[in-house]
């Protein structure tokens, strides 16, 4: 026995019988619930050693220790994979290679390691034991087994389909590198999704909110339905040809449609970011992909919940259908509420305490509250991942403004790192799974059918929806944008996580294999083709993104001056930027469509007049916006900073000034100067009182269209910017 061995028999003895997931890491995921007795039981083998025969115990211990070591080795494999990926990404970024994104790279490395594990390691038998227990009619969560006088505790892992029972011999290493699918949902996806919500480019997001919601909700539903029906046709065909060896129901097809409808254009967006491509297209794609993840999760849950009442299953049942719809709405709104409520609570806590003096405490609180959203939603029976998304959006919209400068960067960076690690882990795991997953069902017909179906599904979702949206949009979504959105229908982490969640039946296994291949294909091919596609579609690149400067200005200038550069803008500001593609004539022709944004405008003024002042230090004082009889309450809720900063806040009241602020931020000027120079205008405008506040959005629009008042031209240097932009780039054709 080598020294290390012997020593691990020390207090380490307790560790041996433990499942591998406990050797985790310098993180604190607070593993829970093994139970007091379990803890004691796990360690009692050490204490009992003295008075019982030690030989057999030693064998068990050795085996357990070997298992512990193998766990460490397999985790090390993943770390090595990620490290390799990071170094290669650096090399690629360093040499400006754009044809392969880091996620694609992670998959390739995963594939290689998967091949090695699959064909390079020898199969060892699992240490399993079959017991019969026919006198009971249900399984218990804990089992005490009496083995020659000693009691061992076992926990239920789950049911096994009878066919699998006899295939116990299996490569141990392959087992070790295979994760529980719930890991993706409970550990890896939440930071990815939260980060997506937290880093939504809000200005552009809210500007395109209507379209994004339409793409995400209607689009995903349409896509799911079309793919599901097409795949049902494919399955019918397979049945006729005799390629189908097991059951494959219509609901299975719809389920496939739901999981494959979650787009994840992470590759495309990374290139957009790098090339500074059009921000509105970015917002549309990013917003759609973020929200359709949530829609896909809830949709797939609802489809599985669709259980016709009668025994004649898999026929259409209106009651079950409406139940499914109800479930969809219930889960979605419940998760949304959970996320929003936690975000609002965090905003209130950070507003009314002076926690910002201690960035560490603030960051820790932020992290804990965001995490609690997930648990709260799960505890209430909603979907944690969806709740986390809306929590992220709320945190970014309100809480972020209350944080200290240091906490802002801390929280951003913390979730950025977590997101990065989790995402690359999932993609390298995907590569690995292609070879280590042992129940692949490769069906060429199904796979080809699926590729055709997702293509058609995406087309049937983008083009008609864009047409209808363009009827209502002031700034049309150009053909080139539509083609780009069509092209960017990558499938990624969410589709994979949904597919791997349940791989028990034949149909599900076939879906999983197909999903894996779709993800590979789309990430590699589409990821590599993004840059050529952008230039082919004449989508302008090289636009100055405000994000970086934004953050810097945050850091240097906005500290405690009450100005919030990240805040969303009135809906009418988009007129400055989306004048491209066929946008120019739309702006001329659709002025009457302004009212289509009435819902958003309602929300905007409510948010600006009530929510922002209540939840953050910005916005107009509540004492001015709330009715008089709420005076005391308003005074309590309004932070003193608001009164102190009343001058800049009154500036913010005016949409016009905000517009200018936006421009300033967008083009990287100094916002402070802009605010300063426009102070006089504000003062004059604020004299006209609150009534004006709602009407001047239209005024701004008119001004933008060249009918504005002389004030605008006096600030010509800024308004000229979009024109300069057009000059810099060649005029773009609609196609």
């Amino acid at each position: 026995m080598e020294p290390g061995d012997a020593a691990r028999l020390g207090p380490g003895r307790a560790a041996r019988a433990l499942p591998p997931r406990l050797l985790l890491l310098p993180l604190l995921p607070l593993l829970l619930g093994r139970g007091l007795r379990g803890a004691a039981a796990a360690s009692s083998s050490g204490a009992a050693a003295e008075d019982s025969s030690a030989m057999e115990e030693l064998a068990t211990e050795k085996e357990a220790e070997e298992s512990h070591r193998q766990d460490s080795v397999s985790l090390l494999t993943f770390i090595l994979l990620l490290t390799l990926t990071i170094l290669t990404i650096w090399l690629f970024k360093h040499r400006r290679v754009r044809f392969l994104h880091e996620t694609g790279l992670a998959m390739i490395y995963g594939l290689i390691v998967g091949v090695i594990l699959r064909y390079g390691t020898t199969a060892t038998s699992g240490h399993d034991k079959s017991l019969s227990c026919t006198q009971e009619d249900r399984a218990f969560s804990t089992l005490l087994v009496n083995v020659s006088g000693k009691f061992f505790e076992y926990t239920l892992k789950g049911e096994i389909s009878p066919g699998k029972v006899n295939s116990v011999e299996q490569n141990d290493m392959l087992r070790k590198v295979t994760f529980d699918p719930e890991v993706f949902f409970n550990i890896l996806l939440p930071p990815i999704i939260f980060h997506a919500g937290y880093s939504l480019k809000k200005r552009h997001f809210f500007r395109n909110l209507g379209s994004i919601l339409a793409y995400a909700f209607l689009g995903t539903a349409v896509s799911c339905f079309i793919i599901g029906n097409l795949m049902y046709g494919v399955v019918k065909l397979m049945k006729i040809v005799g390629q189908l060896s097991d059951k494959f129901y219509y609901t299975d097809c719809l389920f496939f449609g739901a999981i494959i409808s979650a787009t994840d254009p992470v590759t495309v967006l990374a290139i957009f970011n790098e090339l500074h491509a059009d921000v509105d297209l970015y917002a549309l794609l990013f917003g759609e992909s973020v929200l359709n993840d949530a829609v896909a999760i809830v949709l797939s849950s609802s489809i599985v919940a669709y259980q016709p009442a009668g025994l004649n299953t898999h026929a259409f049942d209106a009651a079950a259908f409406f139940k499914s719809v109800g479930i969809f709405l219930g889960i979605f709104s419940g998760s949304f509420t959970m996320g929003a409520v936690t975000g609002v609570v965090t905003a209130l806590v950070t507003k009314f305490t002076k926690l910002h003096c201690f960035p560490l405490l603030e960051t820790a609180l932020f992290f804990l509250m965001s995490w609690s959203t997930f648990l709260l939603a799960e505890a209430c029976g909603f979907t944690g991942v969806v709740a986390v998304l809306f929590c992220g959006i709320t945190q970014a919209h309100y809480t972020y403004n209350n944080l200290s400068v240091e906490s802002r960067s801390r929280t951003k960076q913390l979730f950025e790192v977590l997101h990065f690690l989790a995402e690359n882990f999932i993609f390298s795991y995907m590569g690995l799974a292609l070879f280590t997953f042992q129940k692949h069902v490769f069906s060429p017909v199904f796979i080809i059918g699926a590729f055709v179906a997702i293509f058609l599904g995406r087309a049937a979702h983008i083009y008609p929806l864009s047409f209808f949206l363009n009827l209502g949009r002031r700034h049309k979504i150009g053909w080139n944008f539509q083609h780009m959105m069509m092209f960017s229908g990558l499938r990624g982490a969410m589709a994979f996580a949904l597919a791997i969640r349940d791989t028990a039946s034949y149909a599900r296994q076939m879906m999983f294999t197909t999903t894996l291949l779709i993800v590979f294909f789309t990430v590699w091919i589409i990821g590599g083709g993004t840059t050529p596609m952008l230039s082919w579609l004449n989508i302008r690149v090289g636009i100055e993104e405000p994000s970086e400067e934004d953050q810097n200005e945050h850091r240097w200038q906005y500290f405690r001056v009450g100005v919030d550069p990240d805040q969303d803008l009135p809906p009418n500001n988009d007129s400055f930027q989306v004048l491209q593609g066929d946008g120019s004539d739309s702006a001329r022709g659709n002025r009457t469509k302004q009212e289509s944004a009435w819902l958003f405008r309602l929300w905007y003024s409510f948010d600006h007049n009530y929510l922002k002042p209540i939840l953050t230090h910005s916005g107009p004082p509540l004492t001015t916006t709330l009715p008089a009889w709420c005076g005391l309450l308003a005074q309590c809720l309004t932070s003193p900073q608001v009164y102190e900063n009343q001058e800049p806040l009154r500036e913010e009241d005016s949409d016009f000034i905000l517009t200018e602020g936006d421009l300033t931020l967008t083009f990287g000027d100094s916002a402070v100067t802009a605010n300063g120079s426009s102070g006089s205008h504000t003062a004059s405008m604020s004299l006209e009182g609150g009534r004006r506040m709602k009407s001047n959005s239209e005024e701004v629009l008119e001004r933008d269209l060249g009918m504005g008042d002389p004030k605008v031209s006096s600030r010509g240097t800024r308004l000229v910017f979009p024109l300069e932009d057009n000059v810099r780039l060649p005029p773009q054709s609609p196609e």
Copy 2:
């Protein structure tokens, strides 16, 4: 069935049978190794629903879902606890309350919740089932159970002592909030320990390295031995009185000595930090507590491994003893090597790639490499926590210098947050455990004996060791320092984690209860008494700590100028600061003792001439320090930056200049100015060549003692600083 319920039966169906630790969180601890079959098995219950009787399954599912929800609720409880703690800490910091530290607070909240859970919830029975399986002679890690035709998979949790088998009825909620003890070692301690290593104040740490090592190694061993023997006396007494109801061996006593010897003066150090107390005392206490954690872990492993060869156990066996010593040395050096090697590899990777252009990649790499240390050590049979400590120190010493400015703050902040959350979690869990842990053995005699023993053990460790150290130290450890160190013997997270790791036997349970009470007592009483004690012992406070400015200067001034303000200093620089207590006469009387630091000086010059140039961008070019025949290798290893920055580096070569740099940093001046002004001196000194480099340490010392050359007085404004400091504070008596 409410909507949420029904929907979770969807893809969520797979989740139900899973153990609770999987609903973790927006983190990525890559839970591993459940095995492919487990994954499939867990979800197959969903697929099998259609063709089997659904009723009983529904019952199992409901139950599993209930369990899933309870897990979420109990994790939420902890998050609520931590949130409350954070808010109260803020209140305390805001009002400058110092009598209760955040850890003490966390314990109090934990206690309250524990009381509520213990007495406020009703006991429900655990869903356990006892099986007999007498035909086998060993336990298997996986069990397949055939329950009326369906197969369920169970995993081994561990052995249960026969006495516990019948006490299956237990409060479910209490079980849920009880964590697996290995969670502490594998998830919560690593970030705490890594952060401790990564944030060691290196200048002061290395300056006092000899004393710190002595306290940590010799001191902990002495303390362990004394406490063990005293407790053995107590146990004998208990046996005579009849208070002992089960076995309690001598090795158990020694084990108790080992676990209780790990001091954790986090409370004291927090107050030191806040009051800017003496940095050397801080370094001594912090260094000791960091290293003695590692020593205590390895020591306790070695003691458990002490198994006398013959059947006549618990008598002294020389062979077993030496085996234990060998194990101690083996584990310790192995873990040390693992940590150092990973750190060195990270340093090399960050040096030779231009990863610093992408802080996100750099941070992710740093995190992964640091985590891999833990896994590597565990995979090799060493102790992960100890390896992580030395990895942290290595990362701080080398890698930190290669990181970009953003990554420096990112990594520091990342581990700071993780450390904060983990530490407060452990302490609140401790409070909870006092009421929720169900096997407490309160033995008043043992507890009183333990308090006396730890007091005597600490005294027998601090005072004699300090006496011997003072014989060798140029700057004596004053009586007030010794008393403060004696007083600061708090026990914390490590003692708790070691004690809870094995609570199977009667002796271990008694130890656990006693440890818990010792932690409570020391954290509350000593934590509260630190400020009065500091003033009573005349330990100077209000010393300008360089840490903050240091970091800021990092951020603003040191970016890529090749100057490394965090680097350790030559051993003789301490003469500037520790002239207090009885330090002044020691400095006069012990000049002949300089050679006692020869080992450290050897290490320092090796580190400075070879390791730093190889691993970082600083230090003298290897081409000048390596022998001529290594020319090519030296050129490969030396980074171009070194040649570019040859001027400032040559400045660093000179201990004298570094001394001034230290002073400058210590007293918050602008280091750049200092370097600039001293440039001419450097130039003149560097002419004298490398020979001078080793000798001028003695010169500096002489100069400090008032015999220096005239150059020193020409820079009087800086050297006067310590005197000014003395003027500001009243002269301190040795007692």
